[in-house]
Amino acid sequence: MKLSAFRKKSPWILHYNAGGCNGCDIEILACLAPKYDIERFGMINTGNPKQSDILLVTGPVTKRSRERLVEIYSQMPEPKVVVCCGVCACSGGVFRDMYNCEGGVDQFIPVDVYVCGCGARPEQIIDGVVEALSILEKKTKAMEETVQLKNQPVNEGTQLNRRNTAAAIIQPQ
């Protein structure tokens, strides 16, 4: 059995609030509580980017949290997926176009799953994370590794090509 089969069985979550109102965050914590109990799928709220697989982002990206969001994302080892929780994280929500708000998370890091709602209900969050797990299973490490800029021909194995390959694998036409 390949090791990649176990990615789905123990997804560790990193939860980051990019400047939201805490409404989605308490719903995420409600998922960990006895009623929904996502620990039975093996999920742990790690709080540590270096050991987690799923980045759960809530809230609109503010100017202060923008750099931290990208930094946290870059500190997570591949394979990783990003789930946006709540309408603010998806598009900016009611805070869109305000002077201190940068908009949705997908302007800065690639997002795999969007969970709508204000605030997102625990059932929806679990649904979104389960959706993210199927994406996590398909993602390969090699595709996400940084491209080394050496004296190699540009047209082969570049990031653009890899992105197309990834898109073809994730969404087979």
């Binding site: 090791l3 123990s10 006895p34 620990e39 039975r40 709080g47 080892p77």
Partner: protein, 274 residues
């Protein structure tokens, strides 16, 4: 039998951790993860990309695991108790060094707190080992394993002292300042990732076996009593973990040196006088 236990110690420790996660979930009226969840985590971490801070950091984490396994082997083969305690201290100090070798503040905090928790439990363990020497006339674990009467009835205060420092060693509430997950996100283990995190991750499993073997010492040659003691300690630490909040490191140090250490010391005095 003991050789098998030493060789399969990580596997058995993993099963204990999996069982413990189920028990803790049931205590909170949850269902909890499957029994093999620690092994799923292990195999998943093996697949992730390695993000090494620097090579000596990863090496120190690996050496922590190996030296802990060595300490466990010495204990199970009936070696010198003082030697076992210092080998365990060596493995912990390798982890502390790994924590200090990075530039992360959380890692430094975790290493500091691990050092303080060593300060809290180490004197108690030494005093317990000395009182075992006073009772059996030998420092070796083999003499305890073959001692006719269970040590529990001869030195009950030392057992209570051990019971009170086990949450520090196993990193459980109320004395989990070293691991403080919600506060410093794991402390020393923070900068480990991918396959190198597994050394620290599985070292925790070995630590469980180490702690339960220390508990088993109190039963002497009585196997039934030993298993009963291990079961009691298992449920006691988990119930304590679920029902208490974290104390700060000063309170932990004060409690362990005032209560646990004095209990063990009174026990030593009684053992010397009788």
């Amino acid at each position: 039998m003991r050789i098998l236990l030493i060789v399969f110690a990580p596997v058995i420790g993993g099963l204990i951790v999996g069982f413990e996660r189920i028990i803790r979930a049931r205590m909170q009226r949850r269902i909890g993860p499957p029994l093999f969840q620690p092994f799923y985590d292990f195999l998943k971490l093996a697949d992730k990309r390695k993000m090494m801070v620097h090579s000596s950091h990863a090496f120190l984490g690996l050496m922590h695991f190996i030296s802990l396994w060595f300490a466990l082997a010495v204990l199970l083969l009936g070696g010198d108790l003082i030697l076992v305690i210092f080998l365990h201290l060596l493995s912990t100090s390798l982890l502390i060094l790994a924590g200090f070798s990075t530039r992360s503040v959380f890692s430094h905090l975790g290493a500091n707190r691990t050092a303080i928790s060593v300060l809290a439990y180490e004197p108690v363990l030494i005093v317990i080992a000395v009182s075992i020497f006073m009772l059996t006339g030998s420092f070796t674990a083999a003499s305890v394993f073959s001692y006719p009467a269970p040590l529990l009835f001869k030195m009950p205060l030392a057992f209570i002292a051990l019971l009170l420092i086990l949450p520090i060693k196993m990193k459980k509430s109320p004395f989990d300042v070293a691991d403080a997950h919600q506060e410093i996100t794991g402390g020393v283990e923070l900068e480990f990732s991918g396959i190198f995190y597994e050394a620290v991750f599985t070292a925790k499993w070995l630590d469980y076996i180490f702690c339960y073997t220390l508990v088993y010492l109190f039963a002497g040659s009585n196997v039934t009593l030993g298993i009963a003691l291990i079961g009691f300690v298992f449920f006691f630490t988990n119930a304590l973990d679920n029902s208490t909040a974290r104390v700060n490191y000063k309170q932990m140090l004060r409690f362990s040196l005032a209560v646990s250490f004095s209990l063990a010391f009174v026990n030593l005095i009684i053992n010397i006088l009788l």
